[in-house]
Symmetry: C2
């Protein structure tokens, strides 16, 4: 994979080197997606941003699809690193809770991941599939690497709960970026703290063992 955090796109310092040109194009596509979203992400804009001719996108990647596939390949472990390493959780509930909090953090602070998440839920275009795939692979790998022998308690529909809460986190991160608020809740730091405690409360009450819930007054 190429370095995702390097080198300004200076076309003058790029004398007929295919590798560097390809890198500049991948970087331009990635940056443009992170900044402006999937709208307005086209051949012309990417080539302009990279400082070279759009013809090279066709020559080297076979078109926009190929470019996005290459970007997806670059992204696979980049996303994984955005989730941050962590020690082994003590329980399945802890695993899910920390996954949700880390996901929220990644989505909030990395516009690229947020735009990909938004894109794949808005537009079923084939362009986004390599990116969505990379994102999904990175996330499930992160979970699998940490869950060990931990399993959800029986009688709880863990997939439904996780889908619900992941969807909520993604949507709220998108809403923060576009509106700064959602459903009467201001999405600043205090707002997100309230959401975090609510998330952990729900997870603990649904997945935690009875002792840790603290919800039973008897």
């Amino acid at each position: 994979m190429t370095d995702l955090t390097a080198a300004p796109p200076d076309p003058s310092s790029r004398p007929r080197n295919r590798g560097e040109t390809e890198g500049a194009l991948r970087r331009a596509a990635r940056d443009l997606l992170a900044e402006s979203g999937f709208q307005g992400l086209g051949i012309n804009a990417i080539a302009r941003r990279a400082g070279c001719d759009k013809q090279l996108i066709y020559r080297y990647f076979g078109g926009l699809d190929g470019l996005m596939a290459a970007v997806g390949a670059d992204l696979a472990d980049w996303i994984g690193s955005a989730l941050d390493p962590e020690t082994a959780p003590a329980s399945y509930a802890d695993l899910v809770a920390s996954m949700l909090l880390r996901l929220a953090d990644a989505l909030r602070h990395d516009p690229l991941i947020r735009q990909i998440a938004a894109w794949e839920v808005i537009d079923p275009s084939p362009l986004v599939q390599p990116l969505a795939r990379a994102r999904s692979v990175a996330l499930t790998a992160w979970v699998k690497a940490r869950r060990g022998t931990l399993r959800p308690p029986p009688g709880v529909d863990a997939p439904a709960l996780i889908a619900l809460l992941v969807a909520a986190v993604q949507h709220l991160a998108m809403a923060e970026a576009s509106m700064g608020r959602f459903s009467g809740l201001t999405l600043d730091e205090p707002g997100w703290r309230r959401l975090q405690t609510m998330l952990t409360r729900i997870v603990q009450q649904q997945l935690g063992d009875a002792q840790s819930t603290g919800g039973c007054p008897s």
Copy 2:
């Protein structure tokens, strides 16, 4: 407001009647938004769909912004009716739960509401603001009309909980429309039933009185 469910856009049967022409344009904009989303929603496409010249959009509405504002005005109670009338709930938890289920139903079966919800969370463009406003007004009006004297139990962060679950429902409805699945959960009827029970479980455990949770084994 104009009738939202009438009259084919036959331009031959519309002889120099400004009112009907405006209605045809509003209907075209609304239908196009519901079918194709906010991407590709432009002056040309709307005029083509309405069967008249785009010049009339400028003359009658002052541009696309004015048209969308008019569409928003049309939409206000249309959305409210999509939430369906209902008898008074027995508790605050019941109110929230039924609101969430009805919202999910409306989002799943009405592409227009879904597209507006998606649009306002993706794109902070001024075009969407009248539509978002109409949506928000209709929803809060629905809740206010039904809550009566019901209030959330003390010590519970109801705004955070509601924002979380509304965000989840919106995101899952969008994901169903674009991908049919989300986070390992297939979003068909059985999948949504699982989500519904999970939603009501969460709401009851967070907002319900202790007797109704059933989570306490003592």
